[in-house]
């Protein structure tokens, strides 16, 4: 049995024969429904107005006080002959300036702090802002992650609603709707591959760290959501730190390489040699503004 669908195809394609990925809109597939965005500066448990577990994203706003390991762990497994990492250079005055956003991840912290960021259960949306960050911006989706869902009354306003085949459109269960324009959705702006080519190089004993950065300019004048949820390092766990973040201008992929300091016996660590490497980040940038706030249930 066929059911009504709404399809809009990209220019140059036939709506009757285009492949699914060539549609700008195709309600045979569910559109993610965002019901709330909120930016919080302190920990809070918000009431989950949907009453069931649902998807969520969380973006940290980074500052110079955001967690970033800048002490000097040994550059490898413990050995008294193994030199410590050495951190010097202007980059350590500007690791983050206050305008950068990145995904929260437990690996954003030293101890794998899993309760941080946002966690959603049936009753609550638990928000935990990482110490040192300015804020945490959360994005809440309406689709249920379990078999449970419930009827939600949305405010009265003009809208288009398309249901899952066989479901009653008169019902108000958001998980049974392919599209509901009373709620927001993810809007893809740009996809591509961000490539960072790291050269073979040698950092001499106690020399300044070297920074390699690849960027993609989005030109949106606000920090957009991106995917996949790559984030920033805890700092130097090994020889390098690798960071992915976004600001008003660019999406960044950054690697910082540091030199050797002394050993535990205060002997000079010598030169540190880095191999060439290529990092590829297949990104999607959305039009959605990380900092925007709304509650479409109200």
């Amino acid at each position: 049995m066929s059911s009504p669908v709404l399809k809009i195809v990209r220019p140059g394609y036939d709506v009757l024969s285009a492949d699914p990925q060539d549609f700008a809109l195709n309600t045979e597939y569910l559109l993610p429904k965002i019901y709330m965005q909120k930016t919080l500066t302190s920990d809070i448990d918000l009431t989950n107005d949907l009453g069931y577990p649902h998807g969520s994203w969380a973006f940290r706003r980074l500052t110079s006080s955001s967690f970033y390991r800048k002490d000097s762990p040994l550059a490898g497994p413990y050995s008294p002959f193994q030199p410590y990492n050495w951190f010097a250079g202007d980059i350590y005055n500007e690791i983050f300036t206050g305008d950068e956003y990145t995904y929260f991840s437990p690996t954003s912290t030293e101890t794998g702090y899993v309760t941080g960021g946002v966690i959603v259960d049936s009753d609550d949306v638990k928000v935990d802002v990482l110490a040192g960050d300015t804020s945490l911006s959360i994005v809440l989706f309406a689709e249920s992650l379990t078999s449970s869902s419930s009827d939600i009354q949305l405010p009265t306003r003009p809208y288009i609603k398309i249901g899952v085949e066989g479901e009653d459109l008169g019902e108000t269960n958001l998980s049974e709707q392919r599209m509901n324009t009373k709620l927001d959705t993810l809007k893809i702006f740009k996809t591509g591959t961000l490539t960072l080519s790291l050269p073979t190089e040698t950092l001499t004993y106690k020399s300044d760290s070297v920074v390699h950065t690849a960027t993609v300019a989005h030109g949106l004048d606000y920090p957009p959501m991106y995917f996949p949820p790559r984030t920033v390092s805890t700092g130097f766990v090994g020889q390098e730190s690798t960071d992915v973040y976004v600001d008003d201008t660019n999406l960044y992929l950054r690697v910082i390489r540091c030199s050797y300091g002394d050993t535990s016996f205060e002997d000079p660590g010598g030169d540190k040699n880095f191999s060439a490497a290529t990092l590829d980040f297949d990104y999607t940038i959305f039009y959605n503004d990380i900092t925007e706030e709304f509650n479409l249930l109200e």
Partner: protein, 96 residues
């Protein structure tokens, strides 16, 4: 001791064949209760640590594209994961 200086928790793999012929955007969540980490759902991938004296364990929940037709999810045993697989490619889409 920090999370990077720890004993890994054994991970298991689960493959899902979408057969799209390209690598799609994948958004996935894990039920923290199935990892013994309390209630609620969290976006993955991530790493986490747990301390059971005298061992500091490190767990990883993640996914990757095995090829253009298969996504592989890896997590500790009995982890419950819900994934949204988009019809949009992760790279090479027409929006550029």
């Amino acid at each position: 001791m920090a999370w990077y200086d720890s004993t890994p928790i054994t991970s298991f793999k689960k493959e899902y064949e979408h057969n799209l012929g390209f690598k799609p955007i994948v958004i996935a969540y894990v039920d923290l209760s199935t990892l013994g980490l309390g209630d609620g759902w969290k976006l993955m991938p991530f790493k986490y640590s747990s301390w059971v004296y005298p061992v500091f364990y490190l767990g990883t929940v993640t996914f990757y594209h095995k090829d253009d037709n298969t996504v592989v999810f890896t997590a500790p045993e009995d982890a419950e994961i819900v994934a949204d697989i988009f019809i949009d490619p992760q790279e090479g889409a027409w929006y550029e």
